[in-house]
């Protein structure tokens, strides 16, 4: 005699069988000890499921927002694309969807984070989206616009520190991301490119289309690792400057009076109001006061090999959200394709390799004000570092605006200290103080200024005693 199949046992335990099936199953069970044992196991499993309480309702504020957004979307789409009969059909559909959304978002999250006892099976009070009070924007929902003629893509936040965005957030066209001092953000663009914002930067995702990706820098620096593709145009705009990628790693930095484009690998095309020119690896250009100046950028020390990502396995939308936090500010390893998002069909070239600069000491981290700095490990084999880029940009900026190398170094130290990169500043200070004293007329002033920065940095790093000792030794002002 054959035994009862698993689906019959489950059906029986979950009371999903017809009366006839149920009777047959029970008859078999009575005479079969093996199936009784299996049924006991199945009952144990289904028993757990039946113990779980009903999904509680969603927070009212969020339910309101979801409902509002759904209703807005319905209105927008209806206005643009459909005739009134469809609109009349469409709107109630979204009202229903809002209600379902309320339940399902709660269920999904509830299952994920753990279950706890909730007040007895309360009827799920679904806020109807129809008479909506103006929602309180606790979490600003992405702007919903009428259906665009071109398919719009999205950008995923791969990592974020001290920023207006957060890891795993999906950003739509028009979103603006900014970082605070000491912050950084890595974005994964829909074509597989990576874009990294250094601290105190602001970037807007101006266009996110299959063939056109445009990022606008309002301030700060943006580093890009871009696989070259003929089928799409990636442009970074910084005020009057437009940088077109031609397959490369480059960086665009915008300051109030200067825009810098530096290329570590490959080549970019820089468009200015007066013309267009290519910038190749190891070179940089600075646009200031309507003039483009060519500069030397530290040439790559090693050619990064092409890294082929492992075959992407099927992924779901939330894949990015569950990675462990890490403090490295290099670009994250390539993520697999995600459902619902245009899957990148290329892998960023060498995204996981060092980006042409020697690895800094692992303690080279920006110093946070207040509590003592956290010691963070930065595996040097992972990605190029936004900190390094920031330092290079600062260093170059100081060089451009100082009459001598000696003074440029002083300026770099001051700017680094201002940016909170105290450990780096201290290293530079050390080097500067050890260097031979020059015959510059204001060498004593420079020296004093450097020592002042040293005291400031030591204080910030919580090394108050050393700072006080130095302060006592500080030469009086001439």
């Amino acid at each position: 005699m054959s035994h009862l199949a698993a689906d019959i046992l489950w059906g029986l335990a979950r009371q999903e069988l017809t009366a006839e099936e149920q009777a047959q199953a029970r008859a078999h069970l009575e005479g079969c000890t093996e199936c009784q044992a299996s049924f006991a196991d199945v009952s144990l499993a289904t028993g757990l499921l039946s113990v779980l309480p009903e999904a509680p309702p969603m927070p009212e504020a969020m339910a309101r927002r979801v409902g509002q957004s759904l209703a807005d979307a319905a209105d927008a789409k209806a206005a643009v694309r459909f005739t009134s009969w469809w609109q009349s059909l469409f709107t109630p559909r979204f009202v229903l969807a809002a209600a379902l959304g309320v339940v399902l978002v709660t269920v999904g999250a509830w299952w994920a984070a753990g279950v706890r006892e909730v007040p007895a099976p309360t009827p799920i009070a679904l806020p109807t989206p129809a008479p909506l009070p103006s929602p309180v924007p606790e979490v600003k929902p992405p702007e919903l616009t009428p259906a665009p003629p071109v398919k719009k893509l999205s950008v995923t936040v791969a990592s974020a520190k001290k920023s207006t965005t957060q890891k795993a957030q999906v950003l739509a066209e028009g979103s603006t991301i900014s970082t605070q001092s000491g912050g950084s953000v890595w974005l994964k663009l829909p074509d597989g490119s990576r874009a990294g914002l250094t601290s105190s930067s602001e970037v807007t995702l101006a266009t996110l289309e299959e063939k056109t990706l445009t990022l606008d820098i309002a301030k700060g620096s943006l580093a890009l690792v871009v696989p070259h593709r003929e089928d799409r145009l990636l442009t970074v705009r910084a005020g009057e400057i437009e940088v077109l990628d031609l397959g490369t790693r480059f960086l665009v930095s915008r300051e109030p009076n200067r825009t810098l484009v530096a290329v570590e690998e490959g080549v970019v095309s820089v468009k200015t109001p007066t013309g267009e020119r290519e910038v190749r690896a190891g070179n940089a250009v600075s646009w200031s006061n309507g003039a483009l100046t060519e500069l030397a950028w530290e040439p790559p020390t090693a050619v990064a090999p092409v890294v082929q990502a492992p075959t992407p396995e099927k992924e779901s939308v939330a894949r990015l959200g569950d990675d462990e936090e890490d403090e490295d500010d290099g670009p994250p390893p390539p993520e697999e394709a995600r459902e619902g998002v245009a899957a990148p069909d290329t892998t960023p070239v060498g995204a996981d390799e060092e980006w042409a600069t020697p690895p800094p000491p692992s303690t080279n981290q920006p110093v946070r004000r207040g509590p003592p700095p956290r010691v963070m490990t930065v595996p040097s084999e992972r990605g190029f570092s936004l900190k390094k880029i920031e330092r290079k940009v600062r260093e170059l900026g100081s060089r451009l605006t100082s009459p001598s190398t000696r003074e440029a170094q002083v300026k770099d130290i001051a700017v680094s200290a201002d940016a909170g990169d105290c450990k780096y500043a201290l290293e530079q200070i050390d080097r500067w103080l050890k260097a031979p004293i020059t015959k510059l007329a204001h060498e004593p002033q420079l020296r004093r200024s450097v020592k002042t920065q040293q005291i400031r940095c030591l204080n910030r790093l919580g090394r108050g005693e050393e700072a006080s000792a130095l302060e006592r030794q500080l030469d009086p002002l001439p």
Binding site: A45, V51, E60, A73, L104, G108, W111, V115, E117, S316
Partner: protein, 152 residues
């Protein structure tokens, strides 16, 4: 009422936010080719399952993560403990299932969807859904039994 609960669990709030964001994104690209509920389901189940998967990867004890304070004091503490234990076991068992099986299992056993509805969600034939569900049930039972035996 739940807002209090959600607010008390940083994980949960993140997940609700994540689901919300994904929902908004999905909605934006909605072209009317599938039911609205289709991507609502997908978003929520994916967010939930991926979270469990992430936890399994980090080898965290989920039981420790369940907030104690969220239990309503007016309720039977025994029942609360029972629910907590059941939830923990279900989560652990789900985390061991493959993504395909876990999602079908959640759709059917936890959300009460019919195989025909799931078929649309996971974009495969109803028979495939049925066989996945069957395998998921077998795996789930085995894991639960093992976990139960492992308990003191």
């Amino acid at each position: 009422m739940l807002y209090r609960v959600v607010g008390q669990s940083p994980d949960l709030e993140d997940l609700v936010q994540e689901a919300y964001i994904q929902l908004m994104r999905a909605l934006k690209s909605y072209r009317g080719e599938s039911r609205v509920t289709t991507f609502l389901h997908r978003v929520c189940v994916n967010v939930g399952l991926m979270h469990l998967r992430g936890k399994r990867r980090k080898k965290e004890e989920m039981t420790d993560e369940l907030p104690e304070h969220a239990t309503d004091e007016t309720h039977d503490p025994e029942r609360a403990a029972q629910v907590k234990q059941a939830a923990s076991l279900v989560q652990k068992a789900l985390a061991t299932l493959s993504e395909e099986k876990a999602s079908v299992f959640v759709y059917h056993e936890l959300l009460g969807l019919k195989p025909e509805e799931i078929s649309e969600l996971v974009d495969c034939p109803v028979n495939t859904v049925r066989s996945r569900l069957n395998r998921a049930r077998i795996d789930f039972t085995a894991v639960v039994v093992t976990l139960k035996r492992g308990e003191p």
